[in-house]
């Protein structure tokens, strides 16, 4: 048996294995996931509404209240991520805990904490932006491109 035969056999095996794996791999329980994403995501936004209403009652306009509201949610998410509670919630809530701004804060704290032993520059400082970095990069570029278009055509 030549070497190439062995390699071909291995490739075939891998193909068979992948097909078999896809067959037996559990399908995500989509309905259940969607339900929990809706409930948890909805509740986090309702909490945001409560905080925003509070800031507006202090005399801020709806627009001025947006920043402090996000900051409070971010603070809570950072705290609960540190305590290990947020990721527990995320196991059930999926996108319900990822898509709100609290998920953005979680994506900053979790890797920063995880890589702390690599130091405060390459560990904490750099890993904070593993997910937040791309979000800010593409968000800002989108804003600049739309801004340029608006400025040209207005």
């Amino acid at each position: 048996m030549s070497v190439s035969d062995g390699r071909q056999g291995q490739e075939e095996f891998q193909k068979w294995y992948q097909a078999r794996f896809n067959q037996v791999k559990p399908k995500p329980p989509i309905l259940k996931n969607v339900f929990w994403a809706f409930v948890v995501g909805g509740l986090i936004c309702t909490l945001g509404q409560v905080i925003q209403t509070y800031f507006i009652s202090l005399g801020l306009s709806q627009k001025e209240a947006a920043g402090p509201t996000s900051a409070v949610l971010i603070f809570l998410a950072a705290l609960f991520t540190g305590l290990g509670v947020y990721d527990e919630l995320g196991r059930k809530a999926g996108a319900g805990s990822i898509v709100p701004i609290t998920g953005f804060a979680n994506s900053i704290v979790a890797p920063a904490m995880e890589y702390k032993r690599e130091g405060y520059v390459f560990g904490v400082g750099a890993k904070m932006f593993v997910i937040a970095g791309p979000v800010i990069v593409y968000g800002l570029v989108t804003a600049v491109l739309i801004g340029l278009a608006y400025w040209s055509f207005r």
């Binding site: 969607v34 509404q49 996108a95 968000g139 989108t142």
Partner: protein, 117 residues
């Protein structure tokens, strides 16, 4: 009360879209977050996101597309106020509170706590 229900429904529905993308496509959570910020920004530019904010309040501003909306609406507002420089200054100006809070609280939490297990 109406405002809380609308925040729950609109915010919940935006999360459902994210969940469906994660379950039915190969997109990871990170991809979904980037996609949502960009889509929120584009919708904002087309004037489609502000109505959602008026309808859902925090239900539209708390999910990540709301971050894209803040960046783009801040940019447009600053262009209206001070011309071309707004293209570069408006986005971060509008989102400064949240971005700074995320960096500061993120660092504090990462320093104060250790991962479990």
């Amino acid at each position: 009360m109406q405002a809380y229900i609308m925040a729950f429904v609109i915010g919940g529905l935006i999360c459902v879209i994210g969940q469906l993308l994660m379950d039915l496509t190969p997109l990871t959570p990170a991809h979904v977050l980037v996609l949502f910020v960009v889509l929120g920004g584009i919708m904002s530019g087309l004037g489609l996101y502000q109505p959602l904010v008026e309808m859902g309040g925090a239900g539209a501003t708390v999910p990540l597309p709301g971050f894209g909306h803040a960046l783009v609406s801040g940019t447009i507002e600053e262009i209206n106020k001070s011309g071309f420089t707004g293209v570069f200054s408006g986005g971060l100006k509008a989102s400064a509170f949240g971005v700074t809070a995320a960096v500061v609280f993120g660092l504090l939490a990462a320093v104060a706590f250790n991962p479990r297990g």
